[in-house]
């Protein structure tokens, strides 16, 4: 079963991702900030990351930069935020995000991106 790591400091948002993705048969784990996220990654890498931007202790950018520095299999990351300002986009992609979505992410949008990035779609 493919594994997804969801990092967001809001419980409702994490729940939303979890419920939506579990319905796809994915195994979902949660972290409340970048530090916790890294801890989880070090235990076992994931097949996809969904990362919020604004989090205490270590934010999304910080998490991504650390993640990309690790010598582990690198999986795609979706960065999610409420900001729509250009500088954040560049920062996100530079830090290592592969897709940038704006909250609130509709289920259909989430699922389409997840399916494409996690490699579940069979042509």
């Amino acid at each position: 079963m493919k594994r997804v790591l969801v990092i967001d400091d809001a419980a409702t948002v994490r729940m939303y991702y979890r419920v939506t993705l579990q319905g796809e048969g994915l195994h979902v784990e949660e972290a409340v900030n970048g530090i916790e996220g890294l801890e989880k990654v070090l235990q076992a890498p994931f097949d996809l990351y969904i990362v919020d931007v604004n989090m205490p202790k270590l934010d999304g950018f910080g998490f991504l930069r650390e993640l990309r520095s690790l010598e582990i299999p690198q999986a795609p990351a979706i960065m999610v935020s409420t900001e729509a300002e250009l500088p954040d986009l560049a920062q996100a992609f530079t830090a290592g995000a592969n897709v940038y979505l704006f909250k609130p992410v509709k289920p259909h949008q989430l699922l389409t991106h997840v399916r494409l990035l996690i490699g579940d779609v069979n042509p």
């Binding site: 948002v13 930069r65 520095s69 986009l89 940038y100 991106h113 042509p123």
Partner: protein, 906 residues
């Protein structure tokens, strides 16, 4: 409040809006199948969302509504006005709940009583069914089995439970009944991540469980392991609430059968062997007749000790003793048990209990919702879902950009690998997986070697050129379609348009189609900010010609001056386009205002006992957001007036030879730079005579005017302040607020209001508003050293008049301009500036001829300056109360220009 909740509230309100509209439409066309289905879908969606957030108060009502709509769409119930009323009331309630949720940040405290009442009022409209057995499990909707046999089947099922378990349950259960749970999961439940076996095993109060296949198993080669073909049965001592809570997500697939504990009582065992104690039976029956249960217990115990425990007899005796222990008063049960000792047949409690009215079979607690839809099904085109394909291309484009980033980030290798991975997966999704092997892997290896992503970028670009089916799309177009990423820092070079775009238009999911075209939900503050910036730009650019002139005249640099002017025209063109663009953003269709009227007309006309048909024309007509918003209240006033005073009752209408149902027409159209709204009714019109008299009574006009005023002008007296033909304050027309307020509101946005009426035929009100409030052309004037602006639409011309030609008549000044007398006013005086107007060197005064209503007035100022476009911003706060000023505008040099309101000043 978190964004998810906000989204929920927003979507819920949109749903409610749609539901309201559809309900009203359906009233006029009750047979319209499409409307019914759409209505059902909206309610269903809303219910689903509310369930996600656990607002049972809301869900309860929506659920009832959904069930009711389900009955309607399956032709089991005919749509009626009554249904519409109840549904509207329920949706209003849901709307209130949304407000409460929004206001209290996600909590719903009150409303349960109303919720239950409304839900009941809806359910009552659903005809009850006899066998209220669920349709769960078999999605093809097999007819519900009749009650009796299924209870027999349940008995059989019970019989499978080992006696020990049943005995224990019977002995210990304090409830009058137990629940037998039949859980028949839908075939696709595995795909939704459900494990029904686990669900069943975890059921509260589980005493016993079993599972059974729904049919015979296919051969292994044909087996679809992921299609659920199992039913689960559980016996539980838990109460209904606990069970409904446990199975809450799959409740419609679950049948909860309440069984009296008595049903557990079933002797089992080897019937042969052992004596047949007919004597015992006789004796036991005798004891029962006299109610001597104690003795019965004694003799039963004695016999049991003597018998082989595996015998049917022993089992029956054990049960006899158990019943004697738990419910010795249940003589009927005892009697049948005793009899069974002789017959070797377990008592059939179903028929027994059905026969005895004192112990009726409890109703089956089953809920009947439609089976939940399985996950979203995306239509495919050529095997690949177009939405997926389009998104895949977008993601590919982004990865290219990421790979093209040239920096010296220490994490670059990881970033490249991740991007390559994303690329690979997208390519596979597009059916181009072979490319991964054929090129991506090699270029990735190369990229790792050199330490940056260029090899992969080159490879991707090479792909595009060689016209393979993959054509990377330009990101902004993708962004609009997917509302995913916004424009990214380094967009790829010009690339051919996607061939899949066509297909996307056709094969959208129904939901997407319903929510409308590709659009962004944008915060109003952002739009306003943009508008301000553009406004400033428009104004700032104006400085350039001036600078160009200075360059030439003061600094003598003609070449530079020319270049500045040339650049200015470029900037000017762009600024004008930007201005136009932002005004387009602010343009909204009038339907925004119109959409609440059908409901308003319906409710109000009903209340007044009138029959009125509302016709809306030209709802797509667009105007600036501010104008649209300003229209709302005036129109409501006008409509209410019309309903209240304009339309006659059906009887009156018929007597006058008109159709009983009146027609109220609301027409919007665009004429040059104005939006024209016409409200027309075929009511009784305005009686000039009545108006004249009322006006006279209220002292609005004097006797002389009363005599000679024309009918036309009399009608327009309606707009006089303090005028109202209704002495009694009617709550509908709102506190006797007259039409003067309406006119003021319209004029505040530079609009005009016009009234026409024919007695007995009807009334027509015409509102004329500027299309856009954004940019105003003003003339700048100076007086007493201060500059002011006047809107050019009021300015007719500028003249210079020598003092000698200015005459004083009574207290005012006037002059003759082209053979007509024109009154003159000094701006200084109007603004309470003490100074006198200054003449120029030739002794001429600068006079601005302005239009005030129908007349022309000359405004004396010191000096004219240029005209320019400004963004007129209304004054805010305390200053907003100053009637003399229409607003202010920001100048290129940062100063503020006060714009005068001509009408007010003069």
């Amino acid at each position: 409040m978190n964004a998810l909740l906000e989204q929920f509230i927003f979507e819920s309100r949109e749903c409610l809006q749609g539901i309201g509209e559809k309900l009203l439409q359906l009233e006029d066309a009750p047979g319209d199948k499409d409307l019914v289905n759409e209505l059902f879908r909206l309610v269903h969606t809303l219910k689903g969302n509310s369930g996600l957030f656990e607002f049972p108060t809301m869900t309860r009502v929506l659920h009832a509504g959904e069930d009711l709509m389900d009955e309607v769409r399956n032709d089991r119930v005919v749509f009626s006005r009554q249904i519409a009323d109840h549904l509207l009331a329920s949706m209003d309630f849901v709307g209130l709940l949304c407000d409460e949720i929004e206001g209290s940040d996600g909590q719903v405290k009150s409303g349960n009583g109303n919720s239950v009442r409304l839900a009941e009022s809806l359910r009552i409209l659903i005809p009850s069914r006899d066998a209220k057995v669920v349709e769960g499990g078999d999605e093809r909707g097999a007819s519900p089995p009749p009650q009796a046999p299924s209870r027999d089947a349940d008995l059989e099922l019970l019989g499978m439970i080992p006696e020990k378990v049943r005995m224990e349950a019977y002995r210990t259960s304090r409830e009058p009944g137990l629940y037998l749970i039949h859980y028949r999961p839908v075939e696709g439940c595995f795909y939704q991540g459900e494990d029904p076996f686990h669900q069943a095993r975890q059921a509260p109060g589980l005493l016993w469980g079993s599972l059974s296949p729904r049919g015979s198993w296919p051969r292994l080669g044909e087996l679809d392991a992921y299609r659920c073909m199992l039913d689960f049965h559980v016996l539980s001592t838990a109460n209904l609430e606990a069970l409904e809570e446990h199975f809450r997500y799959v409740l419609e697939q679950v049948e909860l059968v309440e069984l009296p504990t008595l049903f557990l009582v079933a002797p089992q065992g080897e019937p042969n062997g052992g004596p047949v104690y007919e004597d015992f039976v006789a004796e036991a029956l005798g004891l029962l007749e006299t109610g001597n249960v104690n003795d019965l217990a004694i003799v039963s115990r004695a016999l049991l000790e003597l018998s082989n425990p595996d015998l049917w007899l022993s089992s029956a005796l054990r049960w006899l003793l158990a019943v004697l222990e738990r419910e010795p008063e249940n003589l009927m049960a005892l009697k049948f048990l005793v009899n069974s000792l002789g017959t070797f047949q377990a008592p059939n409690w179903v028929s027994i209990t059905a026969a005895t009215p004192e112990d009726p079979l409890p109703a089956i607690e089953a809920t009947a919702h439609p089976a939940p839809a399985t996950g979203p099904v995306l239509p495919g085109v050529g095997g690949i879902d177009p939405v997926l394909a389009v998104t895949a291309h977008a993601i590919i484009a982004i990865q290219r950009t990421i790979l093209a980033i040239q920096d010296d980030a220490s994490w670059q290798p990881g970033r490249i690998r991740a991007a390559a991975g994303a690329l690979a997966n997208c390519l596979k999704a597009l059916g181009q997986g072979h490319l991964v092997m054929e090129g991506l892997e090699a270029s990735l290896a190369a990229a790792m070697a050199v330490g940056h992503g260029e090899p992969i970028v080159l490879w991707l670009d090479g792909l595009v050129e060689s016209t393979t089916p993959i054509k990377a799309l330009d990101p902004p177009a993708m962004a609009r379609q997917c509302t995913a990423s916004a424009p990214i820092p380094k967009p790829p070079a010009e690339l051919p348009p996607p061939q899949l775009e066509e297909e996307v238009k056709f094969a959208r999911r129904a939901e997407d189609a319903q929510t409308g075209s590709k659009s962004l939900k944008v915060d109003q503050a952002k739009v306003d900010r943009l508008m301000n910036l553009i406004g400033e730009m428009v104004v700032s650019k104006n400085a350039l010609p001036y600078l160009a002139n200075r360059a030439e005249s003061v600094f003598g640099v003609r070449e530079l001056s020319r270049e500045i002017k040339a650049q200015y025209s470029v900037i000017n063109r762009i600024a004008e386009e930007m201005q136009d663009a932002i005004m387009q953003v602010r343009m909204m269709p009038v339907s925004f205002v119109f959409q609440r009227f059908p409901r308003l007309v319906r409710d109000t006309s009903r209340k007044l006992g009138k029959e009125v048909n509302l016709v809306l024309i030209g709802e797509d007509t667009q105007a600036d957001k501010n104008i649209i918003e300003a229209l709302g209240d005036p129109l409501v006033h006008i409509l209410r007036n019309s309903l209240d005073h304009g339309f006659e009752t059906p009887d009156q209408r018929l007597a006058a030879g008109k159709p009983a149902t009146g027609t109220l027409t609301l027409r919007a159209s665009q004429e040059s730079d104005q939006v024209v709204i016409v409200v027309e009714d075929d009511g009784k019109g305005i009686d000039p005579g009545v108006i004249k008299r009322k006006a006279y009574e209220k002292g609005v006009i004097d006797e002389a005017t009363l005599e000679c005023i024309s009918d036309r002008d009399a009608i327009n007296l309606i707009f006089a302040p303090g005028f109202s033909t209704m002495d009694v304050v009617s709550d509908l027309s709102g506190r006797g607020v007259g039409m003067d307020v309406v006119r003021t509101a319209v004029e505040k946005v530079n609009g005009t209001l016009h009234l026409d009426s024919d007695l007995g035929q009807g009334t027509r009100i015409t509102l004329s508003l500027p299309l856009s409030m954004a940019v105003t052309n003003v003339m700048i004037v100076e007086t007493d050293g201060q500059t002011f602006g006047l809107p050019m639409q009021s300015v007719i011309e500028t003249v210079r008049v020598p003092r000698s030609r200015i005459m004083g008549i009574k207290n005012t000044q006037a002059t003759v301009l082209r053979g007509r007398i024109m009154a003159l006013k000094s701006l200084n005086e109007k603004l309470s500036i003490a100074a006198a107007p200054i003449a120029n060197a030739e002794g001429e005064l600068a006079i601005l001829v302005v239009r005030v209503g129908q007349e022309q007035v000359g405004l004396i100022v010191d000096q004219f300056h240029e005209t320019m476009d400004v963004i007129l911003k209304p004054m805010a706060g305390v200053l907003g109360g100053l009637p003399a000023y229409a607003g202010s505008a920001l100048m290129g040099d940062g100063s503020v220009l006060m714009i005068l309101n001509v009408m007010e000043i003069l």
